[in-house]
Amino acid sequence: MKKETMPEALRIMYRIRLFEEHAKKMHKENLLAGNFMGALHTYIGEEAIAAGVSMLLNKDDYVFSTHRGHGHFIAKGGSIKKMLAELMGKEAGCSSGRGGSMHLFDTEINFMGGNGIVGAGLPLATGAAYRAKYLKTKQVSVCYFGDGAASQGTFHESLNLASLWKLPVIFVCENNCYAVNTPVSETICIKDVAQRASGYGMPGEAVDGNSLSDVYTAAEKAVARARDGAGPSLLECKTYRIDPHCMVAGDMRKKEEIDKWKERDPIKLSEKWILNEGIAGPDDLRKIREEVAEEIKEAEQFALSAPLPDRKKFREEAMDIDGSKGALK
């Protein structure tokens, strides 16, 4: 990874972290989805993955995300304002309030949506890659998914199809050690998800997902392979989710384990690296952080003041969503 791009990647990580810390606060204050809790799955502790992968992507490359997608969205270049408005169910949201936290979309940057179904994004990402190859566009398609998804049939079917037809997909497994509360050791019969790549004739690599440069270096190979028309890769990023599965879920994990992973916070590791290498000084990093904080504040103002969708108009639209003729005269 080029040293001078490191602060830019760190800025992405700050944007994700500060956004989510703020979203959590708003969630606790019941500001997000009225009086209902709604879903909010945070990415805190996993930021280096989306930041590292996205540094390699062009604006028109496809990204298919998960239920834990805020970080993917920000890293791809999605608008924080529109995402926060979406989390509040506003018409100005990136999905017009129809999708919410798990279904973020932005067609300007080919951010093709989060997904509420574990493992469902893999065939979709494979399909977008099919188009890229079909039209010879040189775009690549990135699919993020968790360790839980690696046990879904769609994982196996998609890896097979993508490899069979040499499609430009990068399958990025964010192995955060748990599917909700079930440890990965109880769901996967081998050490690394990445080992499964060999069964589908593609490279598979397991890396430290909390290390920005490790993620970047591995993703660089996978993206280059996809762009060259050589086919898909499976990249497993070993990481840890610091928060519970979501803001309304219980947590059965041991505090000591969580604390141990907090010491390997990807943001702290990146800051340390940047400072040690002399790429930037503490003041530079503070400045980036302050700029990001300002951006989040503006996003909150935007989202709070944006109007809610119009109930009456929505009901009228819903009447002919499928083109059926309405009530008889």
Binding site: R98, I117, T126, R131, E157
Partner: protein, 324 residues
Amino acid sequence: MREIKYVEAVNEALMEEMENDTGVFIIGEEVSCAGGAFRATEGLFEKFGPERVRDAPISESGFTGLAVGAAMAGLRPVAEIMYLDFITTAMDQVINQAAKVSFMSGNRIKAPLVIRAPYGIGTREAAQHSQSLEAWFAHTPGLKVVMPSTPYDAKGLLKTSIRDDSPVIFLENRILYFKKGPVPREEYLIPLGQADIKRKGKDITVVALSNMVPKALEAAGMLSEEIEMEVIDPRTLVPLDIETIAGSLKKTGRLLVLHEAPERCGFGAEIVRQVSEQAFDYLDAPPKVLGGLNVPIPFSPVLEDACVPSAEDVADAVKKIIPR
């Protein structure tokens, strides 16, 4: 006018739309050299090559999802499910992905794909190869559901379905596949949501789905000396042309709905609901649905045939509704 088989009409529609739009491609099991299990895609591979006529492994979830993703990215895939029954293994991709992505994205993303599936009872293939599942899809907001009964309708509706920006479930009846009917050589389209009156009559409105249309017409012939049946084929369940059905009821005052799917929660119940709510004043008799038995389809031909209404059953039902 020349006559061609239903399956040939499907083939012609695919051929023409692939010529019209390079974004149209076909994916499914054995769709290339084999031409599909029922030869609906015969000759397409030779003409358009492997990228556009893509043989998939037995991975319904994978290749259906691939088609959804390709549609989201701007192509117009036509996925073939060899037997409609097999779509169960791809239901997440149909119900949670294809049907919802346009809505969930605030209409930013479309999923213009067609899922074609041969289906239906009567080929002695037992419970997992014979189902009529149209009601499942009609119950899911975001999907359109098309089930033509003639070669003419199959061709015109498939062409429109491929051009439609919504995901369309296109159900092709296997018994009808090899029946011939008139199809013009010139290009034509049939809009979705437009019922067709297959036979005019004044005494009773019989709404029939897919393979029940020929049986209804046969019954109409059997009864023609005493009763004039009006036979309506809605052709598309979503969108549904309830106006044509109600217009007929205004004249006849009596309704019989026919389908091969089980009666319980079948699409007939939906038609009767809409008629009861919106055209109650036209009814002179209780509306009736005649559908399949609420059982899995048995293998033994004698039992299989007992599961769905025959032309005689239709004629009997009509006679019961109309007082002598």
